[in-house]
Symmetry: none
Subunit: 404 residues, 2 copies
């Protein structure tokens, strides 16, 4: 991973500006008809031109053979080894829906479930109620307060919700209340260490009240909690890279991870197009050294298994790209956090096409277009995603020489 | 880095002979006229033939994105991770000018400076006096001796000098006397731990005498000291690789680093040509298992920004190469310690073209000439420089199989 001690030592705090453009799930696999991947099939004159002029390569998200979730995959792109920096499920889920997690707060992921008259779980997912029904149950849980502690509950999707506890002296080392099976009652919250005992007790008191309020609201008449966790206190971009960094993303999850590494999250609308996002980057460009811009729908269409729709998303990005190029960044990196081939309909472990464009410091290679095969003999080779930030900083002339 | 425990376990102490030919700062970037790098533009029929027959690849000096100094970059080529084996500034500077640093000696780098009548620093570099003027000041500092301690002072360049203390019970953990600013007096030498207190006191007594002697010799009428350090006690080639190794280099710095890893340093003249150096390799060839041969001027011309002159240095090496080939080494490696593109005029982080020629054990790849682009799809891939020695030993049949 990025060696943060080394980065702290070498970063100058000045140099060129960097754009990191991430198309979620960019990497693909060939379709049967012509053997081309989504990126290879897409008409992308701008990306092809940059690939031809600049350095290409393939990024390994977490480890060879391992398909990552978007949380760890983005941590890696930001230089944080996700196998070292463990961001708890509760924190990921809560930041994922834009909840604020302060120092000392405890976040946890909740599931509504169905219990029978004896309190025994009969359905761990409450019949997969709709998001709308989930929201109604979350309404019931508002304003449960205990002395000195605030409980913030928000709906995620269907039967899932996020819960953040705020107050003094909380501790997140608490075992799940989800027994992971039906036919038994939810477990009480239990502290894994003495410091967490008071928090566990507070959680149990909250559950008691919640249980009362959910009574009669079948099928979601009870809840379980998983992944108690606290702010992982990740080193921040300003500290390790001396970068003033911003995030332009539409989905809350990516805003959340960006915030955890100290980026400022720029306000966007849920239905912003790629062009809207690029316009936002242009608006804030003067204020930042580094802008991370996230495009969600390459991944979504890959998961749908819709090859052509993923191609269209890539073509939209290519068409809007001049907006970013007009900013004249010292370094523009275009990559993905992982692969989501439409033929596979899920995240995969395949190394991700990456292009680094940095006139004056990049070395052109033999890639003549942006695509999986073209990137294979590129100047950047195959590299761990966590090396991307040092590469970006080097090319932006933001690092001093190591040693005499 | 090279796993020394593994190397100790696997090395046979016999096998083929190895030449490691390092062209300092070999890697380059394309010039505008025709898009070729220095190495690509150079007419190198011998190197091209070896590249075509052998295995090519790109070596990553220290870490992706990080431009190294020549000290750490050479340690890496020798198999020592420079992020682990920290050779202090004082030791590097002193070995760099050929000073002997024995076990227990303390080396430090010195700067002449200007102080006013109140002893306040007004210029930290003494008006950047000439090397000639620097030498005169160093003369003044000869023969300052304290009971049981020898102080060896030698001029480096301009206002810089090296100081080595020799005697019993010395310790190098001492803070700089250079306050890194003007408007204040030089700091006294201060021990960072109790074991270094006596040494710090001796340094202060030496400074008192030096100060008296420099009085009136404006602008260099005082000095500061930085980077107190001792022999890093690196594992030696004979120990970790079972190699009897020699260094043929013209610049003192490279002789110094070679000596730190236990190579025997062959006497050369400062104005030896590449052909002279290769002749020296031939002369000593029967005596050694491994010869490191260093060519300095690829780096110098790169730092000058003189593309054509760097090309000429490379062409000289190619023309002299038959002298090395006539020795019939089992393994010949040609590489650089880092890149110094003439267009960039400084060390960079770009991976370095590397060719490994070892008839009978190398696997030919699709490289048809020796150059950055040809090496990108080579048999060796992109690899950490610290893996080069194990590769050399393997190809030279000097390692036994690991495990049954």
């Amino acid at each position: 991973m990025a060696n943060f001690d080394l980065m702290r030592q070498l970063t100058r705090g000045e140099g060129g500006k960097i754009i990191l453009l991430v198309m979620d799930g960019l990497g693909g696999l060939p379709r049967e008809s012509d053997g081309l991947t989504e990126l290879e099939a897409a008409h992308t004159p701008n990306l092809d031109r940059l690939a031809k002029a600049g350095s290409c390569g393939l990024s390994i998200p977490v480890a060879r053979g391992v398909a990552p979730g978007s949380g760890p995959a983005h941590l890696a792109l930001f230089g944080y080894d996700p196998l070292v920096y463990d961001v708890g499920r509760g924190v990921l889920e809560a930041t994922g829906i834009g909840m604020e997690i302060g120092d000392g707060d405890v976040a946890v992921r909740g599931n509504f479930c169905t219990v029978n008259a004896d309190g025994i779980i009969t359905d761990r997912r409450a019949g997969r109620i709709s998001t709308e029904e989930g929201r109604k149950r979350v309404e019931l849980l508002q304003d449960i307060s205990l002395p000195g502690i605030e409980f913030d509950v928000r709906a995620v999707k269907e039967y899932r919700f996020g819960l953040v506890m705020r107050g003094e002296g909380l501790h997140g080392d608490i075992a799940d209340t989800d027994p992971q099976q039906t036919g038994v009652a939810p477990l009480p919250a239990r502290a894994n260490r003495p410091e967490a005992e008071r928090t566990a007790e507070l959680v149990n008191r909250w559950i008691e009240v919640a249980k009362e309020r959910l009574k009669g609201h079948e099928p979601a008449n009870m809840l379980t909690l998983r992944g108690f966790s606290m702010d992982p206190a990740l080193p921040k971009y300003a500290d390790v890279y001396k970068l003033k960094a911003a995030c332009v993303a539409v989905y809350p999850m990516y805003k959340g991870v960006s915030k955890l590494v100290g980026m400022e999250v720029i306000a966007t609308n849920p239905d912003d197009s790629t062009q809207d996002e690029f316009n936002k980057v242009a608006e804030i460009w003067n204020e930042y050294d580094f802008v991370f811009c996230h495009i969600k729908y390459t991944d979504s269409r890959g998961e749908d298994g819709d090859f052509d729709a993923k191609v269209n998303v890539i073509e939209d990005v290519d068409a809007a790209l001049p907006t970013l190029l007009d900013l004249d960044p010292a370094v523009l990196i275009v990559t993905g956090d992982h692969s989501t081939p439409a033929t596979y309909r899920a995240h995969t472990w395949h190394p991700v096409p990456t292009l680094l464009w940095s006139p004056g410091t990049h070395i052109p290679d033999r890639a003549t277009a942006f695509g999986e095969r073209e990137c294979m003999a590129g100047a950047l080779g195959q590299f761990p995603a966590t090396d991307l930030m040092p590469l970006a900083l080097g090319h932006a002339r933001r690092l001093v020489k190591y040693g005499a």
